[in-house]
């Protein structure tokens, strides 16, 4: 290469170019590693600072707090040692106790928190989801119903987490007027499973069953919400849900909804509900068919035996298992034995049912 050759001056031999790329890659990886280490150190430092701060606050507050909870000191004594700038920490501190105690001491925590909750409730409008969720939790857990209006407003929050916390908090300070709004808000928590939503709403208690029956009967409501309502009614063993269940079954299309309604009938159903259950025992959806066969296997009548025998050949194994269990429960072991010996496709299922029956399972 000579300086007189401009092309040669710009050219970098292949080996050198490879070296440069390798060096750049190693440099980048090193930079990332250093950045990661620095970020970890900073995070650790921050966590240590927070832990130290908590230790200092607990050392100052705990002796008085424990005396207050034991009824040996006035709440004002504790308030006197909470400095300005520590209000949010103090509410968080009270929440820690709140998760562990109930009874009269729990009510005392609300008294202790009350002077500081107003400031915390301001965070319900904070841009950070985490802050809004924390605020909803604080006023919900410690507000004792005083922040009902704020919690109802939080039901309209754009973040599902905040909605969920507000709904749970409102279920603790139950008022009949709130039930419809709480249930309605849950419709927006589409990402959560039906089971989780139902378990959340069960906190409203059986006295709120009327509102769930209302949702189940409303064909204009989303199928998911009606499914959740059906699950809650089933969990309540709501004796008045039978008519709503049958009515909803007549035109419901959604599989989960139909299975949830059948679950209600399994718990509270009677002979008058059997005709629709029999019809669904031939449904093309295995989950619906299985739920119907399960009901017939437990509460079916003499005329359902043929249906159960037919279900032994169901292409879905667990539908056949429910049918076999029903036949076992029918007190006709000789029928099961005959079927098991007939080399049917489901002989093994029948034999299993017989064995389980013999074992008292």
């Amino acid at each position: 290469m000579t300086p007189a050759d401009p092309l040669a001056a710009q050219a970098v031999p292949i080996g050198d170019r490879g070296f440069l790329i390798l060096a750049a890659f190693i440099g980048l990886v090193t930079l990332c590693a250093v950045g990661f280490v620095l970020a970890s150190l900073m995070l650790r430092g921050r966590n240590n600072r927070i832990a130290r701060q908590w230790a200092a606050l607990e050392a100052r507050w705990d002796p008085v707090m424990l005396e207050v909870l034991a009824g040996a000191a006035d709440p004002a004594v504790l308030h006197a040692i909470v400095r300005s700038g520590e209000h949010t920490w103090f509410v968080e501190y009270l929440l820690r106790y709140g998760r562990r105690i109930r009874g009269p001491e729990r009510a005392l925590l609300s008294t202790l928190a009350m002077p500081y909750l107003y400031a915390v409730s301001g965070d319900l409008g904070h841009p950070s989801v985490e802050r809004r969720a924390r605020a909803a939790q604080s006023v919900g857990d410690l507000g004792g119903g005083a922040y009902r209006a704020e919690l109802l407003a939080a039901l309209e929050d754009r973040a599902p987490l905040v909605v969920m916390i507000a709904a749970v908090a409102l279920s603790r300070v139950y008022r009949p007027d709130d039930v419809r709004r709480v249930i309605g808000s849950v419709a927006r928590l589409g990402l959560l499973t039906n089971r989780l939503l139902a378990s959340m709403l069960q906190r409203l208690g059986p006295e709120s069953a009327w509102a769930f029956r209302e949702v189940l009967a409303d064909r204009g409501r989303p199928a998911k919400l009606r499914t959740v309502a059906a699950k809650v009614l089933a969990a309540f063993n709501d004796q008045e849900a039978g008519a709503n269940a049958v009515s909803a079954l007549t035109d419901a299309v959604d599989v989960d909804l139909r299975v949830a309604i059948l679950d209600i009938l399994q718990r509270i159903g009677s002979a008058e509900h059997l005709p629709i259950v029999r019809r669904l025992a031939g449904d093309p959806e295995p989950a619906v068919r299985g739920a119907a066969i399960r009901i017939l296997s437990r509460a079916g009548e003499e005329e359902d035996l043929d249906l159960l025998v037919g279900a032994l050949d169901d292409p879905v194994a667990w539908v056949a298992i429910h049918a076999a269990e029903g036949l076992r429960r029918s007190g006709r072991p000789e029928l099961l034995a005959r079927l098991a010996a007939a080399q049917q496709r489901r002989s093994s299922v029948i034999v299993s049912a017989m064995v389980l029956g013999d074992a008292g399972a």
Binding site: D62, L66, L69, A70, A72, R96, Y97, R99, R100, I101, R102, G103, P104, E105, R106
Partner: protein, 131 residues
């Protein structure tokens, strides 16, 4: 049980790994005249305390590091000093199976978390008075 019978001389074992719960129980019980609370944050320490001390009662959390509360209960019941020791289990809501197991293994009472410290003291006093 060779535990002291005078109400002024009672040593209560508390096996509880949650520091806030432990502080609550220790503080509340220590206010009772003559009561000394021996706190262990794990099952191994709890058993060591039980071996070294003469206990009047035990409060055992079920979920504990090293050995759980049910294991400690079993070990206590095998020790002839503690066959009649009043034992109260602390359990979380929803763990009924543990409660049943605890009773089968000889627990005298159980209290569900979250709990009222005042109720815990009252129930423990009742157990101590019965023995």
């Amino acid at each position: 049980m060779s535990a002291p019978s005078r109400p002024q001389d009672r040593r209560i074992l508390l096996a509880e790994d949650d520091p806030v719960t432990a502080r609550l129980v220790v503080h509340r019980l220590s206010r009772e005249p003559g009561v000394t609370v021996l706190h262990a944050a794990d099952g191994e320490t709890a058993l060591a305390i039980a071996r070294q001390e003469t206990l009047s009662a035990a409060i055992l959390d079920i979920r504990l590091p090293v050995f759980d509360g049910l294991y400690i209960l079993g070990a206590l019941r095998q020790d002839e000093r503690y066959t009649r020791l009043p034992v109260m289990m602390l359990t979380s809501l929803g763990s009924e199976a543990d409660v049943i197991r605890g009773f089968e293994m000889g627990a005298d009472d159980y209290i569900v978390k979250p709990f009222s410290p005042a109720e815990l003291v009252a129930r423990l006093q009742r157990l101590l008075a019965r023995r």
